[in-house]
Subunit: 177 residues, 2 copies
């Protein structure tokens, strides 16, 4: 495998959500360059389906893009937590349901050109009402949409973030193979 | 629409690929907090299909995740360029083909929780051999896979970055609606 050898690494910022470092690397051919890398915790992203075949989405304002977006629930895996535990906690915090059945549907890197974040994708079903209080989830609005309407919401751009498009189509596509 | 009013903004790092700033914001309820925001140029991501119904993918080492990944071609829109021009340039630089027909298939934010990047998704067909030299594309290996094999490459995790999963499934799903 081609690799880039790290000659030097410098942390330039450490925040609550992201850390930024600059690596000086030697490319396979011997040339040197730098790589700016955003370190972000790994996350879970959840396709949650209720008993009436509706998907539970969350609408929230995203400062980075200055827009309200309609997304699948997602959040960071906390220290000491498994990804399955993170799914159960996040779903209770963001949409107020505990998933009695979860299934991992693979996952993906968010933006591997410059960011470390990997998202574990889960299907959550057999939902029981159960809310957990959390900071930063008060501004989240829960939106339920029938599974059959999801392709149109993606085509129209109503759902327009990579993890939601990838996660929902991964779930929908499963039914076709 | 709920919004967060910017009270203060501080640029903490400015690099070649990313800029990082910290905004102090007032949430709709009046509470104050900070938002760490990675600024990244908008990009194009390309599902390129040749005359034999094969998708052109690129394999390259990604330092941020310390792995070689198999992805759809993608790259930043340069200053003064339209997204369509970026598609034509990137495809010539990364895979050595000029697309005589392109069609926008919408797009998505890469990671709107903390990053500004928006990816315009394009379908590129009617490909003519035409290479453009560029820095940083020498380590890229072009891989052609039949369209019919793409779902398995996603299920298996061989393709495992959000833009490629979202972009390819968006293209494949089109055929089903």
């Amino acid at each position: 495998m081609k690799q880039e050898k790290t000659l030097d690494t410098e942390q330039v910022f450490r925040g609550r959500a992201v850390t930024l470092r600059v690596d000086t690397v030697e490319k396979p051919g011997g040339k040197r360059t730098t790589r700016e890398i955003v370190e972000h915790s790994d996350c879970v992203a959840i396709v949650a389906v209720d008993d009436e075949d509706r998907i539970l989405l969350v609408r929230q304002f995203r400062k980075a893009v200055e827009e309200e977006l309609l997304e699948i629930p997602a959040g960071g895996i906390e220290h000491g937590e498994t990804s399955a535990q993170a799914v159960c906690r996040e779903l209770q915090e963001e949409v107020g349901f505990f998933p009695n059945t979860i299934e991992e549907l693979g996952g993906f890197y968010a933006a591997p050109g410059y960011c470390t974040e990997y998202l574990h994708l889960y299907l959550a079903t057999d939902l029981t009402q159960s809310a957990l209080e959390a900071e930063d989830t008060h501004e989240i609005e829960v939106v339920r949409v029938p599974v059959s309407e999801v392709p149109d919401l993606i085509s129209s751009g109503d759902i327009r973030d990579a993890k939601s498009v990838a996660g929902l189509l991964r779930f929908l596509w499963r039914g076709h193979t």
